[in-house]
Point group: D5
Chain length 142, copies 10
């Protein structure tokens, strides 16, 4: 553990976040996501939900402001209303980045995108619609 680092951010995840550069993407996947068959670099965070990990990451890592949508969410189809977990994400991202701009991908497109991500973080998140991809931005003052 270290000061300012949330306890759910493991040493391995922190190392991965630091090694990522501008435009590299990281997937935060729910507990049922087929992570190991879609990427070689897997960071397991069993027992944690995505919002707490997201908060820990956003504290340290800015999102990409050079693209329109630095966030990807996975749609399951005919959603009637915006899922609660997306509202949580929106709140956390807005707090950190002032804005929340997301791209919405079908399951197939999301899976394809996950294959080219820098890493996938597996969690025990149980909410539906919870999978999310973050694109890293530029650090001005390291």
């Amino acid at each position: 553990m270290l000061k300012y680092i949330k306890s759910c951010i493991s040493p391995e995840l922190l190392k991965v976040l630091m090694e990522m550069g501008h435009s590299d993407e990281i997937v935060l996947a729910d507990g049922n996501f087929p992570a190991a068959s879609h990427n070689d670099k897997i960071v397991r965070l069993d027992g944690n939900d995505i919002p707490s990990i997201l908060e820990g990451i956003l504290f340290l890592m800015p999102l990409d402001t050079y693209v329109e949508n630095p966030i990807c969410l996975m749609m399951h189809g005919e959603e009637v209303e915006r899922p609660q977990i997306w509202k949580e994400y929106e709140e956390l991202v807005t707090k950190s980045e002032n804005v929340f701009k997301a791209e919405y991908l079908s399951r197939e497109s999301f899976y394809e995108r996950a294959k080219t991500a820098y890493a996938i973080v597996t969690t025990s998140e149980k909410a539906l619609y919870a999978n999310i991809i973050l694109k890293k931005g530029v650090i001005v003052e390291g």
Copy 2:
């Protein structure tokens, strides 16, 4: 994830628990425990507290009934009253094993014991007095 396995029990931890035999010991260590300098086999469960892991382990792994004390706790010195976390442990163990028999070790003895354990599980547990060692018992029906 699998049915009946708590989500905080990672694949690696489950594999370790299965490979352990009768009388092998596992340490559940708080977030400040110097784990990597006391054992070669480390299972990290960042972001989790010990009681939820303990509950997940006890569901699957019986404690040793051939020794007087299959549990070790770490004393910090002149404790005035029994810490709250110990009461939680006692409740969880009693629910699973009907009885709670613990040995109390000084910090130095606990550290030495950790060196010979089968593995150390690192957690983000914040409570004081939370370090605990479990000695595995016999599985009658696998």
Copy 3:
């Protein structure tokens, strides 16, 4: 060994089952299946037959209910009547999943499918027609 885990489920197999996500597939192969030349991840369970392994897996892992056929069987050609081992499989699956929906593949198609599976479990099963592929479902409560 652990409580509730059948003794034929090895630590390595359990770890593999946990790491698999929704829609990942696992092959249970008979003793003559050319496993190592069709997949990089091989779990050997020499000396065991498939029904006992299947029972151990189904206790822990739900099948995929989002696809029509979460099970694949391998046809050898002009079978006159349903092989005995398929009846065993049907019984085991129905007991666990209430329903048994299988796709039937030719030997060539089955081999191709095995190449993209998450893992192949090699057994000492001697029955003909015994090769089977399971597609993992969603865990609601981990």
Copy 4:
């Protein structure tokens, strides 16, 4: 699989048996034996009992005739009568070697001996008193 090799003898076990030389020892351990903490070379045969493995080994590997007792059994203390599993062992060994000469060790001595063995085979044997050590003999005609 190969002709003449029992299906419970895995490729890895067969390789280990071949690499062993005159006087090297192998432990067949029951399902609760703390194998991984007593030896670096572990061959797992989950789901198998010891008699069937023993029979498969004895078909291929002679016992040492240069020592008085090429077999070690583990006593648990004040056994009243000879356990059934020992009778099975005696029958299997006598069939292969014409004679059954065993040394009886206390649990502590057996554990110490296991540390210096060439390898430990972990099984799912459930019988008590089932742990056994075999000392390899000389192959005259390879």
Copy 5:
């Protein structure tokens, strides 16, 4: 060494033969064959000739009876008469399999086939025309 296993069959080769399944192929290559540049899995048996290895393999491994030619030989071109080493092979195979059915490949085709084999065994065989590929059959009773 083990009983019934010819001394020229190394532990590594035995393990490879066991891991092979129905229809996997193994190449027995003469001393000049460019083995390491044609396959990743190489078993070296320096100092041995192919007939003695072939005899050791055929004792343990049946050939495939589901294909027309479970054996491949390499032609060097306009052979006038059947090479002596092929007669040796025919005798050994017939003794074990009752029949000898071989496919004859050009050097280029043989090299291509070797790339997809399960493994190549390098020997010190000096006879011309000695390279041979065996396709593994089904083990009925393991």
Copy 6:
């Protein structure tokens, strides 16, 4: 790079700092320190001086307040006056920890201590008397 993390703190160093627990020690060594012959875990930070690394570490990692001297410095012998680099260290530590309590070791003792440290960070620091050991404290809020 990440927000709040000084750019001289490499991903590997950050991972090491996180894995360290209460009472584990880390050595910041000057450019001539024989690091690789005194510890197995080496983090190279070529091109950096110690004060900037120290500042980056102290921002994230508290020093141990349970021991009298959480800092070790290496004396070279008959120093007449306090070296400038020690004053820099004192300022940095005091800013972060409010107090600066250091133990002074001879070269031999310092080298011995370095062998049991969790890791050694090699730098390009050129100042004399610059070697320093930090003992990690307790993180209350991770």
Copy 7:
């Protein structure tokens, strides 16, 4: 450290520079460059800026004189005037090579080129337009 080698040149970087041959390329990347996702061989030099590394490299490694432009720079688009860091590069290269001939690539082309480079050196350089590729020349007298 060694004589004549700048302290920011790490042992690993020096080894990489030596192993490179005529026409191999090395990328010096700023702190935000997505290095690990564009090349397998990464040399991290956290805490250092590019000009000091460039100076250290040019002292040891000549640039390729057989191609028109042994240097690549990355354009970000409509630069109005030549960035300051390019002037620094020009000065350093001219001092060592007498001439400064650079190719200017778009971000996409630069990224593609980085994938085929021999290695990428990651730095903490903060200047914009700082990414640079060097093509190694011929050593006449080693």
Copy 8:
């Protein structure tokens, strides 16, 4: 060192030469050749020139007599007269093989050919036109 083996032939090179089979090729590259970016198997022989290595290799390894040109040389373009180093090569090869038959490749073709070679030996040869590829022949009496 061994009798009859020139001291410039390293243990690793000797092992590589032995593992090569009929028609496998080995590149002897000058000090500026970009070896590591053109082949995965690299044998470094720093400090040695090519003629002495060539002599050591030819003593042990015959060239291929089944192809027209078992030797490849690299042309740099409009050579006016035959380089001195080629004369050395011709003398060495003729002494060993009675004949010197070489194919002459452009730089691009030579580089492509090097990619498919069994290995590249890097030397400190300084002569121009010195790169050479040898195709291994058949050993009749091993």
Copy 9:
């Protein structure tokens, strides 16, 4: 294969022989020798007898002339007359070294000596009394 190297000398053995220096020892062990439990470096030469390997080694490697007995043989006890295999060894060594000076060790001493040898070569030698240790001498002209 290479010219002058006997075909039973494998690439790995040749590499080991070259890496050995003056006074390093190598064990040639019969088929029943417990090699893997007495040394970490094992070179397997299954299917070969010791005299042919010995001849291949002696052609390349001189014995140590600085010690009284560069050869060790293993006594089994009350040998009545000199075993035939020792006469073979004597003939081979005398042919190469002009003299045959051997030390005779008990089984226990031989086993201890094998532990400190540079490597053990396992063979399929069936003769009794065949184990032999060679101490490498000085190469004057490499």
Copy 10:
């Protein structure tokens, strides 16, 4: 290759020299030295003699001036006069360090010292009395 680095200094040796710190020792061993049995870190420089390597090292690495004898030589016993190779060493060292101060060790002491060295460089040096140990000094300006 790089400018200023002698071609006999391999990339691996240069990396080792850089990683060494003040007081670490490196052994330059003749062609018969039993290097691999006396140290885990071996740098092979087959085909090179020690004086040329020594010259390359001394150009980059200062010797330790804090000890009386930063150089160790190996005596073979009753040398009548100073060997020629020592005179070469003296000349090279004096040119670089202005002074030549050596300790003379017996063969046994030299071998023991080599075990604790940072690395051993194996060469093809043929001169007697050529083994030499260098103790690294302090780099003031890196």
